[in-house]
Symmetry: D2
Subunit: 154 residues, 4 copies
Amino acid sequence: MTYTAQMLDTYPAEINLEHDRLSHVIDALTSCAQACTACADSCLSEPADELPRLARCIRDNLDCADICTATAAVLSRHTGYDARLTKAQVEAAIQAVKTCGDSCAEHSDQHAHCRLCAQSCRETERALKGLLPLLEPSGKGAQQPHRAAPQQGM
Amino acid sequence: MTYTAQMLDTYPAEINLEHDRLSHVIDALTSCAQACTACADSCLSEPADELPRLARCIRDNLDCADICTATAAVLSRHTGYDARLTKAQVEAAIQAVKTCGDSCAEHSDQHAHCRLCAQSCRETERALKGLLPLLEPSGKGAQQPHRAAPQQGM
Amino acid sequence: MTYTAQMLDTYPAEINLEHDRLSHVIDALTSCAQACTACADSCLSEPADELPRLARCIRDNLDCADICTATAAVLSRHTGYDARLTKAQVEAAIQAVKTCGDSCAEHSDQHAHCRLCAQSCRETERALKGLLPLLEPSGKGAQQPHRAAPQQGM
Amino acid sequence: MTYTAQMLDTYPAEINLEHDRLSHVIDALTSCAQACTACADSCLSEPADELPRLARCIRDNLDCADICTATAAVLSRHTGYDARLTKAQVEAAIQAVKTCGDSCAEHSDQHAHCRLCAQSCRETERALKGLLPLLEPSGKGAQQPHRAAPQQGM
Protein backbone atom coordinates (compact mmCIF):
# COMPACT_ATOMS: atom_id res chain seq x y z
CA MET A 1 0.00 0.00 0.00
CA THR A 2 2.53 2.60 1.06
CA TYR A 3 5.95 3.10 -0.45
CA THR A 4 7.73 2.82 2.89
CA ALA A 5 9.03 -0.73 2.50
CA GLN A 6 10.08 -0.16 -1.11
CA MET A 7 11.93 3.03 -0.22
CA LEU A 8 13.90 1.15 2.44
CA ASP A 9 14.83 -1.55 -0.09
CA THR A 10 16.23 1.04 -2.52
CA TYR A 11 18.28 3.01 0.04
CA PRO A 12 21.79 3.06 -1.48
CA ALA A 13 23.66 2.10 1.72
CA GLU A 14 23.21 -0.44 4.48
CA ILE A 15 20.46 -0.07 7.10
CA ASN A 16 21.21 -1.95 10.31
CA LEU A 17 17.59 -2.74 11.06
CA GLU A 18 15.19 -5.33 9.69
CA HIS A 19 13.36 -3.53 6.85
CA ASP A 20 10.00 -5.17 7.58
CA ARG A 21 9.99 -4.10 11.17
CA LEU A 22 11.17 -0.58 10.42
CA SER A 23 8.63 0.02 7.65
CA HIS A 24 5.88 -1.29 9.93
CA VAL A 25 6.88 1.23 12.62
CA ILE A 26 7.01 4.14 10.16
CA ASP A 27 3.62 3.22 8.69
CA ALA A 28 2.12 2.90 12.17
CA LEU A 29 3.44 6.38 13.06
CA THR A 30 2.12 8.13 9.94
CA SER A 31 -1.22 6.36 10.28
CA CYS A 32 -1.41 7.30 13.97
CA ALA A 33 -0.57 10.94 13.22
CA GLN A 34 -3.47 11.07 10.76
CA ALA A 35 -5.85 9.34 13.18
CA CYS A 36 -4.91 11.82 15.91
CA THR A 37 -5.43 14.83 13.64
CA ALA A 38 -8.82 13.44 12.60
CA CYS A 39 -9.79 12.55 16.18
CA ALA A 40 -9.02 16.07 17.43
CA ASP A 41 -11.25 17.43 14.68
CA SER A 42 -14.03 14.93 15.37
CA CYS A 43 -13.95 15.93 19.03
CA LEU A 44 -14.35 19.58 17.97
CA SER A 45 -17.55 18.66 16.13
CA GLU A 46 -19.12 16.81 19.04
CA PRO A 47 -22.22 18.42 20.63
CA ALA A 48 -21.66 21.47 22.85
CA ASP A 49 -22.32 19.63 26.11
CA GLU A 50 -19.82 16.93 25.21
CA LEU A 51 -17.00 19.17 24.04
CA PRO A 52 -15.57 20.42 27.37
CA ARG A 53 -14.73 16.96 28.63
CA LEU A 54 -12.84 16.33 25.35
CA ALA A 55 -10.46 19.29 25.74
CA ARG A 56 -7.63 17.22 27.21
CA CYS A 57 -8.17 14.51 24.58
CA ILE A 58 -7.84 17.12 21.80
CA ARG A 59 -4.63 18.45 23.30
CA ASP A 60 -3.17 14.94 23.57
CA ASN A 61 -4.24 14.24 19.97
CA LEU A 62 -2.39 17.33 18.77
CA ASP A 63 0.83 16.51 20.62
CA CYS A 64 0.67 12.92 19.44
CA ALA A 65 0.17 13.94 15.80
CA ASP A 66 3.14 16.34 15.90
CA ILE A 67 5.43 13.86 17.65
CA CYS A 68 4.46 10.87 15.48
CA THR A 69 5.08 12.93 12.32
CA ALA A 70 8.52 14.05 13.52
CA THR A 71 9.43 10.52 14.63
CA ALA A 72 8.37 8.99 11.30
CA ALA A 73 10.63 11.50 9.53
CA VAL A 74 13.59 10.71 11.79
CA LEU A 75 13.11 6.95 11.24
CA SER A 76 12.90 7.53 7.47
CA ARG A 77 16.47 8.91 7.43
CA HIS A 78 19.52 6.65 7.58
CA THR A 79 22.36 8.88 6.40
CA GLY A 80 24.72 9.52 9.32
CA TYR A 81 22.51 7.58 11.71
CA ASP A 82 22.90 8.64 15.36
CA ALA A 83 21.44 6.03 17.71
CA ARG A 84 21.22 8.46 20.64
CA LEU A 85 18.93 10.80 18.72
CA THR A 86 16.76 8.03 17.30
CA LYS A 87 16.42 6.40 20.70
CA ALA A 88 15.44 9.64 22.47
CA GLN A 89 12.84 10.49 19.84
CA VAL A 90 11.39 6.95 19.85
CA GLU A 91 11.10 7.18 23.65
CA ALA A 92 9.23 10.48 23.35
CA ALA A 93 6.92 8.91 20.78
CA ILE A 94 6.22 5.95 23.07
CA GLN A 95 5.14 8.41 25.77
CA ALA A 96 3.03 10.42 23.29
CA VAL A 97 1.05 7.42 22.03
CA LYS A 98 0.69 6.17 25.62
CA THR A 99 -0.69 9.52 26.86
CA CYS A 100 -2.98 9.95 23.86
CA GLY A 101 -4.08 6.32 23.86
CA ASP A 102 -5.06 6.65 27.54
CA SER A 103 -7.00 9.86 26.88
CA CYS A 104 -8.88 8.40 23.94
CA ALA A 105 -9.55 5.15 25.79
CA GLU A 106 -11.49 7.13 28.40
CA HIS A 107 -13.99 8.10 25.68
CA SER A 108 -14.02 4.89 23.65
CA ASP A 109 -17.52 3.90 24.69
CA GLN A 110 -19.07 7.25 23.77
CA HIS A 111 -17.06 8.13 20.67
CA ALA A 112 -16.12 5.69 17.90
CA HIS A 113 -13.39 8.07 16.68
CA CYS A 114 -11.74 7.92 20.12
CA ARG A 115 -11.96 4.13 20.09
CA LEU A 116 -10.25 3.93 16.70
CA CYS A 117 -7.65 6.49 17.68
CA ALA A 118 -6.86 4.65 20.92
CA GLN A 119 -6.46 1.45 18.88
CA SER A 120 -4.03 3.17 16.50
CA CYS A 121 -2.07 4.57 19.48
CA ARG A 122 -1.80 1.13 21.12
CA GLU A 123 -0.62 -0.51 17.88
CA THR A 124 1.97 2.20 17.42
CA GLU A 125 3.11 1.87 21.02
CA ARG A 126 3.65 -1.88 20.52
CA ALA A 127 5.53 -1.27 17.28
CA LEU A 128 7.78 1.39 18.86
CA LYS A 129 8.49 -0.76 21.93
CA GLY A 130 9.48 -3.62 19.63
CA LEU A 131 11.93 -1.33 17.84
CA LEU A 132 13.49 0.36 20.87
CA PRO A 133 15.74 -2.51 22.07
CA LEU A 134 17.08 -2.95 18.53
CA LEU A 135 18.41 0.58 18.39
CA GLU A 136 22.06 0.76 19.24
CA PRO A 137 22.61 1.31 22.99
CA SER A 138 23.05 4.99 23.76
CA GLY A 139 26.26 4.31 25.70
CA LYS A 140 28.03 2.95 22.64
CA GLY A 141 26.32 5.44 20.36
CA ALA A 142 27.50 8.29 22.55
CA GLN A 143 31.12 7.26 21.99
CA GLN A 144 31.00 6.60 18.30
CA PRO A 145 27.68 7.00 16.55
CA HIS A 146 27.23 4.45 13.83
CA ARG A 147 27.31 6.03 10.39
CA ALA A 148 25.39 3.94 7.92
CA ALA A 149 26.06 6.10 4.92
CA PRO A 150 29.00 6.18 2.55
CA GLN A 151 30.05 9.72 3.49
CA GLN A 152 31.55 8.48 6.76
CA GLY A 153 35.04 8.09 5.39
CA MET A 154 35.25 11.65 4.05
CA MET B 1 -4.46 -0.66 6.26
CA THR B 2 -4.65 2.90 7.56
CA TYR B 3 -7.34 4.32 9.80
CA THR B 4 -8.15 7.19 7.42
CA ALA B 5 -11.36 5.75 5.95
CA GLN B 6 -12.64 4.60 9.33
CA MET B 7 -11.96 7.99 10.91
CA LEU B 8 -14.01 9.66 8.18
CA ASP B 9 -16.88 7.25 8.80
CA THR B 10 -16.96 8.10 12.50
CA TYR B 11 -16.83 11.90 12.11
CA PRO B 12 -19.85 13.15 14.10
CA ALA B 13 -21.15 15.59 11.45
CA GLU B 14 -21.68 15.51 7.71
CA ILE B 15 -18.75 15.60 5.28
CA ASN B 16 -19.73 16.87 1.84
CA LEU B 17 -17.23 14.73 -0.02
CA GLU B 18 -17.22 11.07 -0.98
CA HIS B 19 -15.40 9.33 1.89
CA ASP B 20 -13.61 6.84 -0.39
CA ARG B 21 -12.16 9.52 -2.57
CA LEU B 22 -11.14 11.73 0.33
CA SER B 23 -9.44 8.95 2.28
CA HIS B 24 -7.60 7.91 -0.87
CA VAL B 25 -6.27 11.47 -1.29
CA ILE B 26 -5.20 11.73 2.36
CA ASP B 27 -3.44 8.35 2.22
CA ALA B 28 -1.70 9.31 -1.02
CA LEU B 29 -0.47 12.53 0.60
CA THR B 30 0.91 10.91 3.76
CA SER B 31 2.51 8.14 1.73
CA CYS B 32 4.03 10.70 -0.66
CA ALA B 33 5.38 12.78 2.24
CA GLN B 34 7.15 9.71 3.59
CA ALA B 35 8.50 8.74 0.16
CA CYS B 36 9.87 12.26 -0.33
CA THR B 37 11.54 12.29 3.09
CA ALA B 38 13.10 8.90 2.34
CA CYS B 39 14.12 9.92 -1.20
CA ALA B 40 15.89 13.05 0.06
CA ASP B 41 17.82 10.89 2.50
CA SER B 42 18.62 8.25 -0.12
CA CYS B 43 19.96 10.99 -2.39
CA LEU B 44 22.22 12.16 0.47
CA SER B 45 23.72 8.68 0.67
CA GLU B 46 24.50 8.39 -3.03
CA PRO B 47 28.20 8.38 -4.03
CA ALA B 48 30.06 11.69 -3.87
CA ASP B 49 30.24 12.16 -7.63
CA GLU B 50 26.49 11.63 -7.95
CA LEU B 51 25.37 13.87 -5.10
CA PRO B 52 25.76 17.36 -6.65
CA ARG B 53 23.32 16.65 -9.47
CA LEU B 54 20.77 15.53 -6.87
CA ALA B 55 20.77 18.81 -4.90
CA ARG B 56 17.68 20.19 -6.62
CA CYS B 57 15.90 16.84 -6.27
CA ILE B 58 16.58 16.87 -2.51
CA ARG B 59 15.23 20.39 -2.20
CA ASP B 60 12.07 19.47 -4.12
CA ASN B 61 11.67 16.35 -1.94
CA LEU B 62 11.81 18.47 1.21
CA ASP B 63 9.26 21.01 -0.01
CA CYS B 64 6.98 18.23 -1.21
CA ALA B 65 7.17 16.38 2.11
CA ASP B 66 6.32 19.54 4.09
CA ILE B 67 3.46 20.55 1.79
CA CYS B 68 1.96 17.04 1.54
CA THR B 69 2.00 16.71 5.34
CA ALA B 70 0.27 20.07 5.83
CA THR B 71 -2.28 19.30 3.10
CA ALA B 72 -3.11 15.89 4.58
CA ALA B 73 -3.76 17.59 7.93
CA VAL B 74 -6.01 20.23 6.35
CA LEU B 75 -7.99 17.54 4.49
CA SER B 76 -8.34 15.55 7.73
CA ARG B 77 -10.27 18.41 9.34
CA HIS B 78 -13.94 19.06 8.60
CA THR B 79 -15.08 21.29 11.45
CA GLY B 80 -15.89 24.73 10.08
CA TYR B 81 -14.79 23.75 6.58
CA ASP B 82 -13.65 26.69 4.43
CA ALA B 83 -13.54 25.74 0.73
CA ARG B 84 -11.27 28.66 -0.18
CA LEU B 85 -8.54 27.49 2.18
CA THR B 86 -8.83 23.83 1.20
CA LYS B 87 -8.77 24.71 -2.48
CA ALA B 88 -5.71 26.95 -2.19
CA GLN B 89 -3.78 24.34 -0.23
CA VAL B 90 -4.76 21.53 -2.62
CA GLU B 91 -3.54 23.69 -5.52
CA ALA B 92 -0.20 24.25 -3.77
CA ALA B 93 0.08 20.50 -3.19
CA ILE B 94 -0.64 19.77 -6.87
CA GLN B 95 2.26 22.06 -7.79
CA ALA B 96 4.53 20.50 -5.15
CA VAL B 97 4.00 16.90 -6.35
CA LYS B 98 4.35 18.10 -9.97
CA THR B 99 7.67 19.85 -9.29
CA CYS B 100 9.02 16.98 -7.19
CA GLY B 101 7.71 14.32 -9.58
CA ASP B 102 9.49 16.07 -12.46
CA SER B 103 12.76 16.31 -10.51
CA CYS B 104 12.68 12.68 -9.48
CA ALA B 105 11.67 11.54 -12.97
CA GLU B 106 14.94 13.01 -14.30
CA HIS B 107 16.84 10.48 -12.17
CA SER B 108 14.51 7.49 -12.45
CA ASP B 109 16.86 5.47 -14.61
CA GLN B 110 19.84 5.87 -12.30
CA HIS B 111 18.12 5.74 -8.92
CA ALA B 112 15.34 3.35 -7.94
CA HIS B 113 14.36 5.59 -5.01
CA CYS B 114 13.77 8.47 -7.42
CA ARG B 115 11.69 6.22 -9.66
CA LEU B 116 9.48 5.15 -6.73
CA CYS B 117 9.20 8.70 -5.42
CA ALA B 118 8.22 10.03 -8.85
CA GLN B 119 5.56 7.31 -9.04
CA SER B 120 4.18 8.32 -5.64
CA CYS B 121 4.16 11.99 -6.71
CA ARG B 122 2.28 11.19 -9.93
CA GLU B 123 -0.33 9.11 -8.10
CA THR B 124 -0.82 11.88 -5.57
CA GLU B 125 -1.11 14.47 -8.34
CA ARG B 126 -3.86 12.42 -10.00
CA ALA B 127 -5.68 11.99 -6.70
CA LEU B 128 -5.49 15.71 -5.89
CA LYS B 129 -6.62 16.71 -9.39
CA GLY B 130 -9.59 14.40 -9.03
CA LEU B 131 -10.53 16.07 -5.76
CA LEU B 132 -10.07 19.70 -6.80
CA PRO B 133 -13.25 20.15 -8.91
CA LEU B 134 -15.32 18.64 -6.10
CA LEU B 135 -14.28 21.32 -3.63
CA GLU B 136 -16.81 24.09 -3.41
CA PRO B 137 -16.03 26.90 -5.89
CA SER B 138 -14.04 29.67 -4.21
CA GLY B 139 -16.47 32.30 -5.42
CA LYS B 140 -19.33 30.79 -3.48
CA GLY B 141 -17.06 29.85 -0.62
CA ALA B 142 -15.84 33.42 -0.36
CA GLN B 143 -19.38 34.65 0.24
CA GLN B 144 -20.50 32.07 2.67
CA PRO B 145 -18.06 29.33 3.57
CA HIS B 146 -19.81 26.04 4.12
CA ARG B 147 -19.68 24.97 7.75
CA ALA B 148 -20.00 21.20 8.05
CA ALA B 149 -19.88 21.07 11.80
CA PRO B 150 -22.65 21.50 14.34
CA GLN B 151 -21.16 24.61 15.92
CA GLN B 152 -22.32 26.77 13.01
CA GLY B 153 -25.56 27.77 14.63
CA MET B 154 -23.97 28.99 17.84
CA MET C 1 16.59 38.23 17.51
CA THR C 2 16.16 35.31 15.13
CA TYR C 3 18.83 33.93 12.85
CA THR C 4 16.66 34.24 9.73
CA ALA C 5 18.29 37.36 8.29
CA GLN C 6 21.80 36.13 9.04
CA MET C 7 21.10 32.76 7.44
CA LEU C 8 19.96 34.52 4.25
CA ASP C 9 23.15 36.60 4.21
CA THR C 10 25.32 33.49 4.40
CA TYR C 11 23.52 31.50 1.69
CA PRO C 12 26.30 30.51 -0.73
CA ALA C 13 24.45 31.48 -3.94
CA GLU C 14 22.35 34.39 -5.11
CA ILE C 15 18.81 34.93 -3.79
CA ASN C 16 16.67 37.01 -6.12
CA LEU C 17 14.65 38.62 -3.36
CA GLU C 18 15.43 41.46 -0.97
CA HIS C 19 16.81 39.73 2.14
CA ASP C 20 15.12 42.12 4.58
CA ARG C 21 11.69 41.55 3.13
CA LEU C 22 12.13 37.80 2.90
CA SER C 23 13.40 37.39 6.45
CA HIS C 24 10.51 39.53 7.70
CA VAL C 25 8.02 37.23 5.94
CA ILE C 26 9.64 34.06 7.29
CA ASP C 27 9.74 35.48 10.84
CA ALA C 28 6.10 36.54 10.58
CA LEU C 29 5.14 33.03 9.47
CA THR C 30 6.97 31.20 12.26
CA SER C 31 5.66 33.66 14.84
CA CYS C 32 2.12 33.27 13.48
CA ALA C 33 2.37 29.47 13.54
CA GLN C 34 3.33 29.63 17.22
CA ALA C 35 0.55 32.13 18.02
CA CYS C 36 -2.00 29.87 16.30
CA THR C 37 -0.83 26.77 18.17
CA ALA C 38 -1.02 28.70 21.45
CA CYS C 39 -4.41 30.23 20.60
CA ALA C 40 -5.92 26.82 19.82
CA ASP C 41 -4.70 25.61 23.19
CA SER C 42 -5.95 28.72 25.03
CA CYS C 43 -9.36 28.20 23.45
CA LEU C 44 -9.36 24.61 24.76
CA SER C 45 -8.86 25.93 28.30
CA GLU C 46 -11.70 28.44 28.17
CA PRO C 47 -14.74 27.72 30.39
CA ALA C 48 -17.11 24.97 29.29
CA ASP C 49 -19.89 27.30 28.21
CA GLU C 50 -17.48 29.29 26.04
CA LEU C 51 -15.74 26.37 24.34
CA PRO C 52 -18.36 25.28 21.76
CA ARG C 53 -18.40 28.64 20.00
CA LEU C 54 -14.60 28.42 19.71
CA ALA C 55 -14.57 25.10 17.82
CA ARG C 56 -14.24 26.71 14.39
CA CYS C 57 -11.58 29.09 15.68
CA ILE C 58 -9.54 26.15 16.97
CA ARG C 59 -9.82 24.38 13.64
CA ASP C 60 -8.71 27.50 11.77
CA ASN C 61 -5.80 27.92 14.22
CA LEU C 62 -4.63 24.37 13.52
CA ASP C 63 -4.78 24.76 9.74
CA CYS C 64 -3.04 28.10 9.93
CA ALA C 65 -0.24 26.75 12.13
CA ASP C 66 0.40 23.82 9.77
CA ILE C 67 0.31 25.97 6.64
CA CYS C 68 2.48 28.77 8.08
CA THR C 69 5.09 26.24 9.21
CA ALA C 70 5.22 24.59 5.77
CA THR C 71 5.35 27.97 4.01
CA ALA C 72 8.18 29.23 6.23
CA ALA C 73 10.17 26.11 5.36
CA VAL C 74 9.55 26.54 1.61
CA LEU C 75 10.63 30.20 1.80
CA SER C 76 13.76 29.20 3.73
CA ARG C 77 14.98 27.11 0.79
CA HIS C 78 16.59 28.67 -2.30
CA THR C 79 18.34 25.77 -3.99
CA GLY C 80 16.63 25.04 -7.30
CA TYR C 81 13.98 27.68 -6.64
CA ASP C 82 10.69 27.06 -8.49
CA ALA C 83 8.53 30.21 -8.57
CA ARG C 84 5.34 28.26 -9.38
CA LEU C 85 5.61 26.23 -6.19
CA THR C 86 6.56 29.18 -3.99
CA LYS C 87 3.74 31.28 -5.42
CA ALA C 88 1.10 28.58 -4.92
CA GLN C 89 2.18 27.96 -1.33
CA VAL C 90 2.29 31.68 -0.53
CA GLU C 91 -1.25 32.03 -1.92
CA ALA C 92 -2.45 29.18 0.29
CA ALA C 93 -0.81 30.85 3.29
CA ILE C 94 -2.50 34.16 2.49
CA GLN C 95 -5.84 32.35 2.57
CA ALA C 96 -4.95 30.53 5.80
CA VAL C 97 -4.02 33.69 7.73
CA LYS C 98 -7.10 35.44 6.28
CA THR C 99 -9.45 32.65 7.38
CA CYS C 100 -7.84 32.32 10.81
CA GLY C 101 -7.55 36.09 11.31
CA ASP C 102 -11.27 36.43 10.57
CA SER C 103 -12.17 33.65 13.01
CA CYS C 104 -10.04 35.06 15.79
CA ALA C 105 -11.27 38.61 15.14
CA GLU C 106 -14.81 37.43 15.94
CA HIS C 107 -13.64 36.67 19.50
CA SER C 108 -11.18 39.54 20.01
CA ASP C 109 -13.34 41.34 22.52
CA GLN C 110 -13.88 38.32 24.74
CA HIS C 111 -10.48 36.63 24.46
CA ALA C 112 -7.13 38.42 24.53
CA HIS C 113 -5.40 35.39 22.97
CA CYS C 114 -7.74 35.64 19.97
CA ARG C 115 -7.00 39.36 19.68
CA LEU C 116 -3.26 38.75 19.65
CA CYS C 117 -3.58 35.84 17.23
CA ALA C 118 -5.75 37.91 14.86
CA GLN C 119 -3.09 40.65 14.98
CA SER C 120 -0.35 38.15 14.13
CA CYS C 121 -2.47 36.77 11.25
CA ARG C 122 -3.07 40.27 9.82
CA GLU C 123 0.63 41.19 10.01
CA THR C 124 1.54 37.95 8.29
CA GLU C 125 -1.13 38.51 5.62
CA ARG C 126 0.33 41.95 4.86
CA ALA C 127 3.86 40.55 4.73
CA LEU C 128 2.83 37.71 2.39
CA LYS C 129 0.86 40.04 0.12
CA GLY C 130 3.90 42.32 -0.12
CA LEU C 131 6.02 39.35 -1.19
CA LEU C 132 3.64 37.77 -3.69
CA PRO C 133 4.10 40.24 -6.63
CA LEU C 134 7.89 39.92 -6.30
CA LEU C 135 7.80 36.19 -6.95
CA GLU C 136 8.46 35.36 -10.56
CA PRO C 137 5.24 35.12 -12.60
CA SER C 138 4.01 31.56 -12.81
CA GLY C 139 3.73 31.76 -16.61
CA LYS C 140 7.42 32.34 -17.06
CA GLY C 141 8.28 29.98 -14.23
CA ALA C 142 6.24 27.25 -15.84
CA GLN C 143 8.41 27.36 -18.93
CA GLN C 144 11.76 27.58 -17.30
CA PRO C 145 11.87 27.68 -13.51
CA HIS C 146 14.62 29.93 -12.28
CA ARG C 147 17.35 27.99 -10.54
CA ALA C 148 19.20 30.17 -8.07
CA ALA C 149 21.67 27.57 -6.97
CA PRO C 150 25.00 26.61 -8.46
CA GLN C 151 23.97 23.08 -9.36
CA GLN C 152 22.00 24.35 -12.34
CA GLY C 153 24.84 23.92 -14.79
CA MET C 154 25.44 20.28 -13.92
CA MET D 1 9.35 40.58 18.64
CA THR D 2 7.35 37.37 18.63
CA TYR D 3 3.97 36.84 20.21
CA THR D 4 5.13 33.94 22.34
CA ALA D 5 5.41 35.80 25.65
CA GLN D 6 2.12 37.64 25.13
CA MET D 7 0.30 34.42 24.27
CA LEU D 8 1.53 32.86 27.52
CA ASP D 9 0.29 35.89 29.48
CA THR D 10 -3.21 35.56 28.00
CA TYR D 11 -3.58 31.80 28.56
CA PRO D 12 -6.86 31.49 30.51
CA ALA D 13 -5.57 29.06 33.15
CA GLU D 14 -2.46 28.76 35.29
CA ILE D 15 0.89 27.73 33.79
CA ASN D 16 3.26 26.25 36.36
CA LEU D 17 6.39 27.56 34.70
CA GLU D 18 8.02 30.99 34.64
CA HIS D 19 6.61 32.66 31.51
CA ASP D 20 9.88 34.39 30.61
CA ARG D 21 11.86 31.20 30.66
CA LEU D 22 9.24 29.23 28.76
CA SER D 23 8.80 31.83 26.02
CA HIS D 24 12.58 32.03 25.65
CA VAL D 25 12.75 28.26 25.13
CA ILE D 26 9.91 28.25 22.59
CA ASP D 27 11.46 31.14 20.65
CA ALA D 28 14.85 29.43 20.68
CA LEU D 29 13.25 26.25 19.29
CA THR D 30 11.37 27.95 16.45
CA SER D 31 14.41 30.03 15.57
CA CYS D 32 16.62 26.93 15.62
CA ALA D 33 14.18 25.01 13.41
CA GLN D 34 14.37 27.80 10.86
CA ALA D 35 18.16 28.01 11.05
CA CYS D 36 18.42 24.23 10.53
CA THR D 37 16.09 24.29 7.52
CA ALA D 38 18.11 27.15 6.03
CA CYS D 39 21.46 25.50 6.84
CA ALA D 40 20.42 22.25 5.12
CA ASP D 41 19.50 24.27 2.04
CA SER D 42 22.71 26.32 2.15
CA CYS D 43 24.71 23.08 2.34
CA LEU D 44 22.86 21.85 -0.78
CA SER D 45 24.04 24.94 -2.68
CA GLU D 46 27.70 24.57 -1.75
CA PRO D 47 30.11 23.67 -4.58
CA ALA D 48 30.05 20.10 -5.85
CA ASP D 49 33.37 19.11 -4.27
CA GLU D 50 32.20 20.37 -0.88
CA LEU D 51 28.74 18.81 -0.87
CA PRO D 52 29.54 15.15 -0.07
CA ARG D 53 31.18 15.96 3.26
CA LEU D 54 28.05 17.92 4.21
CA ALA D 55 25.63 15.00 3.76
CA ARG D 56 25.59 14.09 7.44
CA CYS D 57 25.24 17.74 8.43
CA ILE D 58 22.18 18.07 6.15
CA ARG D 59 20.60 14.99 7.67
CA ASP D 60 21.19 16.28 11.20
CA ASN D 61 19.75 19.68 10.17
CA LEU D 62 16.57 18.00 8.92
CA ASP D 63 16.07 15.93 12.06
CA CYS D 64 16.76 18.93 14.26
CA ALA D 65 14.28 21.12 12.37
CA ASP D 66 11.52 18.49 12.65
CA ILE D 67 12.16 17.81 16.33
CA CYS D 68 12.49 21.49 17.32
CA THR D 69 9.21 22.31 15.53
CA ALA D 70 7.36 19.47 17.29
CA THR D 71 8.87 20.40 20.66
CA ALA D 72 7.93 24.07 20.30
CA ALA D 73 4.34 23.00 19.60
CA VAL D 74 4.24 20.70 22.65
CA LEU D 75 5.64 23.48 24.88
CA SER D 76 3.04 25.91 23.47
CA ARG D 77 0.21 23.75 24.84
CA HIS D 78 -0.79 23.80 28.51
CA THR D 79 -4.25 22.24 28.53
CA GLY D 80 -4.09 18.88 30.30
CA TYR D 81 -0.31 19.16 30.76
CA ASP D 82 1.43 15.79 31.09
CA ALA D 83 4.95 16.21 32.52
CA ARG D 84 6.08 12.78 31.31
CA LEU D 85 5.38 13.66 27.69
CA THR D 86 6.89 17.13 27.90
CA LYS D 87 10.00 15.79 29.61
CA ALA D 88 10.55 13.01 27.07
CA GLN D 89 10.15 15.39 24.14
CA VAL D 90 12.45 18.01 25.69
CA GLU D 91 15.08 15.28 26.20
CA ALA D 92 14.80 14.28 22.55
CA ALA D 93 15.18 17.92 21.54
CA ILE D 94 18.30 18.29 23.71
CA GLN D 95 19.83 15.36 21.86
CA ALA D 96 18.76 16.74 18.46
CA VAL D 97 20.36 20.17 19.00
CA LYS D 98 23.46 18.48 20.47
CA THR D 99 23.86 16.16 17.46
CA CYS D 100 23.17 18.93 14.95
CA GLY D 101 25.30 21.49 16.81
CA ASP D 102 28.22 19.03 16.76
CA SER D 103 27.80 18.37 13.03
CA CYS D 104 27.61 22.05 12.16
CA ALA D 105 30.52 22.91 14.45
CA GLU D 106 32.74 20.62 12.36
CA HIS D 107 32.17 22.95 9.38
CA SER D 108 32.07 26.30 11.19
CA ASP D 109 35.39 27.48 9.81
CA GLN D 110 34.50 26.78 6.19
CA HIS D 111 30.79 27.70 6.18
CA ALA D 112 29.29 30.72 7.91
CA HIS D 113 25.81 29.15 7.76
CA CYS D 114 27.09 26.15 9.73
CA ARG D 115 28.69 28.49 12.27
CA LEU D 116 25.40 30.35 12.79
CA CYS D 117 23.39 27.15 12.92
CA ALA D 118 25.76 25.63 15.49
CA GLN D 119 25.39 28.80 17.56
CA SER D 120 21.59 28.55 17.40
CA CYS D 121 21.76 24.86 18.38
CA ARG D 122 24.00 25.61 21.39
CA GLU D 123 21.74 28.41 22.60
CA THR D 124 18.71 26.16 22.27
CA GLU D 125 20.50 23.35 24.08
CA ARG D 126 21.27 25.68 27.01
CA ALA D 127 17.66 26.92 27.08
CA LEU D 128 16.26 23.37 27.05
CA LYS D 129 18.67 22.17 29.74
CA GLY D 130 17.60 25.09 31.91
CA LEU D 131 13.98 24.09 31.50
CA LEU D 132 14.32 20.33 32.02
CA PRO D 133 14.78 20.29 35.84
CA LEU D 134 11.74 22.56 36.23
CA LEU D 135 9.44 20.05 34.56
CA GLU D 136 7.63 17.89 37.04
CA PRO D 137 9.57 14.66 37.80
CA SER D 138 8.37 11.80 35.64
CA GLY D 139 7.87 9.55 38.67
CA LYS D 140 5.27 11.83 40.18
CA GLY D 141 3.86 12.68 36.76
CA ALA D 142 3.39 9.01 36.00
CA GLN D 143 1.14 8.60 39.00
CA GLN D 144 -0.97 11.66 38.60
CA PRO D 145 -0.16 13.98 35.72
CA HIS D 146 -0.70 17.59 36.65
CA ARG D 147 -3.62 19.09 34.77
CA ALA D 148 -3.25 22.86 34.48
CA ALA D 149 -6.48 23.47 32.64
CA PRO D 150 -9.96 23.96 33.99
CA GLN D 151 -11.41 20.88 32.31
CA GLN D 152 -9.82 18.61 34.91
CA GLY D 153 -12.83 18.56 37.16
CA MET D 154 -15.27 17.63 34.42
